[in-house]
């Protein structure tokens, strides 16, 4: 039988706010245990929550970014359960009425050996505000468990998709896109190691062609794209094998073990909590007006979709280039800055996506830390455009820039890379080459096109690579008439 996997994601993004979701305590990561736990974080008797306006702004930004429906009124509810790192015995979350409703995110699924790259729209069901729990710390004191409440109350936006993804590649493409988007609009630092961006993945399988959903298992707390890919692939295979062996899938929460590459059930549905949700009487309903949305919109950067469209219409880039360049805000910013500094857009795009990107990858550097600035790259591209240097020479200049050898013109000078564009000088070289290579000339005249390229090569060699290749081509053609 042919099987199809159905995947939906729930992502907890930690919002970049100065203080916690419902109190003034700081949210800085890595402080000593319980030093960022105020009376509200500890849930002392009598304390009350006050909603963080900055967190609401983050939620509105996200809603605007995915063109979501946003209810004028949403409600905070209590999710009741006992756990040592949950100080109040309930988590304040949104249940029936979330702040962000239905929206969509377009993903680019990269090509593989067997498939071409494609785009797909993933529907977002909802996004809601909630607070994080603290952390249990085991083993810090022999035979005891400790509780660190620094994280308790940290603002989260939980983003939930429809079960729209049909492969691990799509799920990872979505997660990466979301990861970039939340950083692009400045609501999350995206730090997966510190837990700022955590994904729960719901996986089920069904016979291909069926429109009924299979029973899902939820893989909890994946904090790397690599693990996500592995976990989904393992889980999918496990479910298919279980069903093919005549077994059934029990709804369950599972954990991925990166060491073994396997998923293992943590708790089954029968053991699941009844969370006894009810509206939190300590908080008023959250009102989001059109004016609030307009105010927040004015604070937002140009969104990737809009920038992408602009790159196509204004700079005549292909939609592939536009989408690649806007895959991350830092890369898009770099490209826009390069063009703003005078570079020709298509050439800038090729360099940013090509040489620069390759070098950054090779040295595992982020574009914001690139040793070659956008202004420097623009200066370099201008020297290609005005025929001062050839493309090949430009690569050497780029290496020089990367190594910090100085500015573009100084490097060209120092390395003697200036291109010869003087017609007379080039003609002299051509004449010499033609005289020395009569055999090739004859071949060309006999109809062998290849011989022409060989002659160009000889000319370039004779000029030590400095002759302007376009001119060489043109003049050579004229001579051979």
């Amino acid at each position: 039988m042919q099987w199809e996997v159905v995947i939906g994601l729930e992502t907890h993004t930690q919002l970049q706010t100065k203080s916690k979701q419902f109190s003034g305590a700081s949210t800085t990561y890595g402080a000593d245990p319980n030093t960022q736990a105020c009376e509200v974080s500890i849930a002392l008797p009598g304390v009350l929550p006050v909603l963080n306006k900055e967190a609401v702004e983050c939620a509105i930004k996200f809603g605007l970014a995915i063109e979501a429906e946003m209810a004028p009124r949403s409600v905070f509810s209590r999710k009741n359960y006992f756990y040592p790192d949950l100080p109040k015995g309930y988590q304040i979350s949104q249940f029936e009425l979330p702040v962000v409703g239905k929206g969509k995110i377009t993903i680019q699924v990269p090509a593989t050996k067997n498939t071409e790259a494609y785009e797909k729209v993933i529907n977002i069901t909802r996004a809601h505000l909630e607070e994080d729990a603290g952390k249990s710390v085991h083993g810090a004191v022999e035979g005891m468990s400790g509780i660190d409440l620094n994280r308790a109350g940290t603002p989260l936006l939980e983003i939930v998709t429809e079960p729209d993804m049909r492969s691990a590649a799509e799920a990872v493409a979505y997660a990466k896109k979301l990861h970039e988007l939340v950083q692009w609009i400045g609501i999350c630092d995206g730090n997966m190691q510190e837990g700022s961006f955590r994904c729960d993945v719901n996986v089920s399988v069904r016979p291909k062609g069926s429109d009924k959903l299979g029973t899902r298992r939820e893989i909890k707390n994946l904090n790397s794209f690599k693990f996500m890919q592995q976990a989904i692939e393992y889980e999918t295979q496990w479910q298919i094998e279980t069903l093919e062996d005549g077994g059934t899938i029990q709804q369950a929460t599972v954990l991925f073990n990166p060491d073994t590459g396997e998923t293992r059930a943590m708790r089954s549905k029968e053991e699941a909590n009844d969370y006894r949700y009810f509206p939190d009487p300590d908080l008023l309903p959250l009102e989001v007006t059109e004016a609030d949305k307009a105010r927040v919109k004015a604070l937002m950067p140009e969104l990737p979709q809009a920038l992408q469209a602009r790159l196509v219409s204004e700079y005549q880039l292909s939609s592939y280039d536009a989408s690649t360049l806007t895959a991350s805000r830092s890369q898009a910013d770099y490209f826009v800055a390069t063009v703003a500094a005078g570079a020709e857009p298509k050439q800038a795009a090729n360099w940013v996506m090509g040489a620069l990107s390759a070098k950054l990858n090779a040295e595992e550097k982020s574009i914001v830390d690139s040793p070659v600035s956008a202004a420097q790259l623009a200066a370099l591209l201008k020297r290609i455009a005005d025929n001062t240097i050839s493309n090949n020479a430009a690569k050497q200049v780029f290496e020089g820039l990367w190594a910090g050898e100085g500015e573009v013109d100084a490097i060209i000078e120092a390395k003697g890379l200036k291109q010869v564009s003087d017609t007379g000088a080039i003609e002299a070289i051509i004449n010499e080459v033609l005289a020395a290579n009569q055999a090739m000339v004859d071949e060309y005249k006999a109809g062998k096109e290849k011989a022409f390229n060989a002659l160009v090569g000889q000319c370039m060699k004779a000029s030590k690579g400095k002759a302007n290749p376009a001119q060489v081509n043109e003049l050579l053609k004229a001579k051979l008439g």
């Binding site: 009376e39 500890i42 849930a43 002392l44 008797p45 009598g46 304390v47 009350l48 929550p49 006050v50 909603l51 209590r78 009741n80 006992f82 040592p84 100080p87 109040k88 015995g89 309930y90 509780i147 009844d274 006894r276 949700y277 009810f278 009487p281 300590d282 908080l283 008023l284």
Partner: protein
Amino acid sequence: MINSSLKQLGQQLASKQVSSVELTQAYLQRMAQLNPTINAYVTIDEDKTLAQARAADARIATGDFGPLTGIPLAQKDIFCAKGWRTTCSSKMLETFISPYDAHVISQFDAAGAVNLGKTNMDEFAMGSSNETSYFGGVKNPWDFDRVPGGSSGGSAAAVAARLCAAATGTDTGGSIRQPASLCGFTGLKPTYGLVSRYGMIAFASSLDQAGPMAKSAEDCALMLNVMAGFDERDSTSVNREKEDYTRGLAAMTGEQPLKGLRIGLPKEYFAEGLSADVAKVIETAIAEYKKLGAEIVEVSLPNNNLSIPVYYVLAPAEASSNLSRYDGVRYGHRAAEYNDLMEMYMKSRAEGFGAEVKRRILIGTYVLSAGYYDAYYLKAQQIRRLIAQDFVEAFKHCDVIMGPAAPSTAFKAGEKTSDPVAMYLEDLYTIAVNLAGLPGMSIPAGFAQNSEGKALPVGLQIIGNYFDEARMLEIGHAYQQVTDWHTQMPEGIA
């Protein structure tokens, strides 16, 4: 002196006829003498109290003081007070020392008032007789065999026995007004949102409201001036301009100061359930109001009979969640021995909470459970709106509503402890006011003779429209200008 009004005490302090330390010591002496019997206070800390009195005297000496500077007050043990043991009369918090001040406490501190101690109450404010307290019951100063009402029973007894100049209470379903009725003093539950709940240990968040408990309407007005006000730490606190609740009191003199006032009498408040002796006192009080110029209008609160069942769904639902934080992990009672986390939770909570608290946690957990939520919690919320709507309709025909605050006079200790529903009926006339979020007040209106020939106080309830506290206090004050029920003291405590 013990029967002086807050205004008189303030004048004596201001004119240095008496110092705050002297006044405070006088109360501390009375407390040392009477509290072992009455059990109104659960925590007394003379050093802290006297330090505050000395600070108040220093303020008075510099001339920087207000109407309550140096005045000794009792604080219900539901308010967190920095450095004070704050227990909610529960074993769960028997050793909890609060590291912070409730908004109400810091307001009184800023006003220079002196904290005499923390008063006894029903455990986590759950009860109508103060008998659910871990620290034992409180005696009604009018008859030591009887209860003071609850849940603010300790504050009530402290005011009635003149163990403080005035006190604070909280009222979730009648916990200020019913004890005020049973102990014969003036108690006001303000509009929901008028007094910040920050630092006030939550029972049922959507109903809890703090208010003053004092000898007279005028005293309550002075107390409310300090307690009321916006606090950004409580999202349900209402941001409105500060009022002076004493501003209209002086005008309540002469012939018919209440001319034109329309008093609504809900027919449901004078039906089955009200004892005849209480009804008689209320009727006499209403007659007095007619003499003061008021008109009487009959109104109806048709859904009042649903208020108790609705309350006993909503309040326990909120309480079951509010009390989840008492888990033995961070503070409060933790069982001495346990094998694992679940056992620690279960034993700590089983040992730390009393029977009534457990009963309400169970009810609340049940009504919020999947499959029951719609039938109980959601339905109760819908009826709650109908109950509030009843008042909206009634206030189209009257300015205030009057009636009894409690169905009978103080009952005997132990009389209703085995019958929770009989106990719940104590709040028949008060609960709807909390459900609607309205202000309600009880003022002393006379006495009823019990079967043993003892005179027990009866309170008249005055219910106002939202934020009408100033007017309600004027109406109470006008009555207190022509009656002396509020100045009477129990025998043997003077």
